[in-house]
Symmetry: C2
Subunit: 156 residues, 2 copies
DNA sequence: CGAGGTTGGTTCGTAATGCAAATCATCATC
DNA sequence: GATGATGATTTGCATTACGAACCAACCTCG
């Protein structure tokens, strides 16, 4: 089925898979620069918009709760996040960024954006928008790693 | 900070990041179904087109050689690949799929394709092609995880 | 109220992943 | 044949991830 056409001829899914690897690699690079692991960076970035509970984190990351416990443990040990008891339900811990954690999260997040934009600098804005909207339409079918406003901690 | 626009408004890079997570998740699902880990599946799929040496694998995966040694060890222990001495240079081991490994690799590969295609079934072929070509143009700037014909083991 | 079940998180044990430094064996060259 | 470069492994360590068992706080219902 495949001939010797290299990357110039590539299926849609193969393109997605390779793009995924590229993104992972960018995350790995950025994480390395900031002395944390990729998973830790992703956790920190997820918390930029506000604290999240353990169970919700496990759903967002598609990981077991015990995995999240370990991840938060290690990031907390580095002083980047804190466990804050929820007043309404004393079982839940809201995971919140510390000052240091916020600084690192924002910087790393900007780095990722910067590097990905640099990689895509040959694409026109229109092309980028088209890709983004196509991706979004796929994502909306399977809400993945998405934090909708309704999921945000309510103040009421 | 954002209003109630959920995923409908999303930056290009954010879309890439989330798509990457989706792809990783698909890999995780497929791997789980086949009783192997995502990394192992990726290794097997990489070998479908023919055996590869350890050093070349470490470059393709952007991992240290010692990490590849461990990965190959575990997959070999399951009887999915074998280390074959290279006749021309007896230092190198070519990693080749066994029959069982080939079967699993092909099945898993097809599963990944199938699931990703299913996710993207709302996109027109034209849209898919556009996304693929945009992605390819980005990838070509930074050859990632790509095995070009020139990288294949030569017979000469 | 209080027993019983559910839910949020942690603990424990285990396996896989990944790095870095040191080591071994084979090439390659002079 | 000594020397150095290269391919791969070994060792030790931290991280990541799962699953099952567990505890504590919540909720419901009699």
């Amino acid at each position: 089925m495949t001939t010797t056409e290299a990357t110039t001829e590539l299926g849609f899914t193969a393109a997605l898979v390779r793009m995924s690897h590229l993104v992972q690699h960018v995350f790995a690079d950025v994480s390395h620069d900031h002395e944390v692991t990729p998973q830790q960076v992703q956790l920190l970035c997820m918390l930029i918009d506000g604290p999240i509970g353990m169970t919700e984190l496990s759903q967002l990351f598609h990981l077991e709760k015990s995995s999240i416990t370990g991840l938060v443990d290690r990031v907390e040990r580095r002083g980047l996040v804190t466990r804050v008891r929820d007043g309404r339900d004393r079982r839940v811990y809201q995971i919140a960024l510390t000052g240091e954690g916020t600084r690192l999260a924002v910087e790393a997040h900007e780095d990722v954006i910067r590097r990905l934009d640099a990689l895509a600098k040959d694409l026109s804005d229109a092309e980028k928008a088209r890709v983004a909207s196509a991706v979004v339409s796929v994502l909306d079918r399977h809400g993945v790693f998405t934090r909708r406003p309704g999921d945000l901690p309510r103040e009421s």
